[in-house]
Amino acid sequence: MEWQFFTEVLVGGLLSGVMYSLVAIGFVLIYKTSGVLNFAQGALLLFAALTFVSLTERGLPVWAAILLTLAAMTGIGAMIERAVLRPLVNQPPITLFMATLGVSYVVEGAAQLLWGTQVHGLDLGIDDLPLEIGGVLVSSFDLFAAAVAGAMVAALTLFFRYTRIGLGFRAVADDQLAALAVGLSLDRIWTAVWTAAGMVALVAGLLWGARLGVQFSLSLVVLKALPVLVLGGFDSIAGAIVGGLIVGAVEKLAEVYVGPFVGGGIEGWIAYVAALGFLLIRPSGLFGAKLVERV
């Protein structure tokens, strides 16, 4: 019984962790090409989910809503490139980071201005009745989410492995001036990657939206993704998954087994503290690229 409960918590944690990874992947994409933590990822997620729900609520079929939302995300990606990234080329990362905060205001505002501030339910048609496997409770919805995340990671990993684009991405993140000098089209790279981040945001937004309802708080799920990022490494897709699993498991086990001794509610920070402890051993995360510098 005790062992079974432990397994349940662990499995539950791992599956929650995958949900975090889903959000983290969006961050990784942007970080890989600009060395910047994109704080607008949460806003993108909100925007995507809100657009999708509002469209379906207005009677559009699901496929059309998805296509339209994707189009919108592409538009946003292109706009961000044109209006923000291009003029800020070759600026220090902190400046870009602040700019993404500005962008998040705009996107958040626009999302709610367009679609209102109401809370929407989102039903993806996936039942979430309790499912017992060998006496251990598993959520069917989480399994589905894990499958989606797995597929996404696989696709992105293959993409980076079998195209040379990944190399260009890293080059841009390393040195934008040099990237310009060797003829990389930063505009195209950035538009592409922000669009991709928008699509990841849509997927994450739909899955999280089905759990939380589609509302402003959706943008707060990024806070769950940040410890995942530092743990796995900002620039590693695989790291996002592994980090997510670790964070999810640590968080849940800590809450259940340590929480009661300190009054509970430690989930909010335990992941950060754990990630921090881990970073002290590996300063660039599990799979993150090590800082390269010499004199």
Binding site: R170, A181, V182, G183
Partner: protein, 259 residues
């Protein structure tokens, strides 16, 4: 050697940084197809600024072209993105190396070749070409460029530019930090490319001895202005001009006054 039409021309270019610091106040310069032009000048004369201006990199440094025209291959460079210029064959080796530090040396070269859009197989001989020119890079090809020695980084930067198969190669202080044999090797190789493939070259150099020995023509900048433009041979041979350039009698370019 065949010298044809004008490939690049700067005319009365003025440039500022941040709309405030004026770095160029009248630079004129031409490079014809198949020509090697040396751009000389003391510290802070504006060589780097001029080169960045002509390859469209000034905006990325928060610099602006305030006046004048820059025409490459019949088109205004300010109208084209740096990437388009590279695709049109105008490739620059930046001052201060600027390698992609977390990429391996070989990946640096590959990124340089990406504008050519070559496949994996076609890339091989291109890489070989660079490794023949810089054997040292072959040994270090799996090391992150950021960890290699200063000279190795300089070789990587030059090799990376050559991977794009430029028509006009712009070099900003290529000799910096390189062993004499290597400098000689580079200039010899460039000269050969120039002869055999008609590669045009614009090179900014402090090491005027080497530069003048290989250049067809030379331009001298002083405090952001072109003060001399002529056949390299003249500068090479005429001591009065050399002395002039070296700073005698022109109020020490080494320590110009501050703003």
């Amino acid at each position: 050697m065949t010298i044809h039409e004008v490939l690049l021309s700067l005319d009365g270019v003025e440039a500022t940084y941040n709309h405030a610091i004026r770095a160029l106040s009248g630079v004129s310069l031409t490079v014809r197809t198949g020509e090697i032009v040396a751009l000389l000048g003391a510290n802070g004369a504006g060589k780097t600024t001029a080169l960045k201006a002509l390859s469209g990199l000034l905006p990325a440094e928060r610099g602006q072209i305030a006046a004048g025209t820059i025409v490459y291959d019949g088109g205004d460079v300010t109208r084209r993105s740096p990437a388009e210029l590279v695709r049109a064959g105008l490739v620059q080796v930046l001052e201060g190396r600027h390698c992609f530090r977390s990429l391996t040396v070989e990946d640096n070269l590959i990124v340089g070749g990406q504008v050519q859009g070559l496949g994996r197989a076609a890339l091989r001989p291109e890489l070989e070409r660079i490794y023949t020119l810089f054997p040292r890079l072959r040994d270090r090809r799996k090391t992150a460029a950021g960890l290699t020695s200063g000279g190795e980084q300089q070789m990587t930067a030059i090799g990376r530019a050559l991977m794009a198969r430029p028509r006009l190669l712009v070099l900003d202080e290529p000799s910096m930090g390189l062993a004499p044999l290597v400098v000689e090797g580079i200039f010899t190789a460039l000269k050969r490319l120039n002869r055999e493939e008609g590669l045009s070259i614009l090179v900014a150099e402090q090491n005027s001895t080497v530069a003048l020995r290989h250049a067809d023509r030379a331009s001298v900048l002083e405090t952001g202005r072109t003060v001399l433009d002529g056949p390299a041979a003249d500068l090479r041979e005429r001591d009065d001009i050399k002395a002039f350039y070296l700073g005698f009698g022109v109020g020490g370019p080494a320590a110009p006054a501050a703003a």
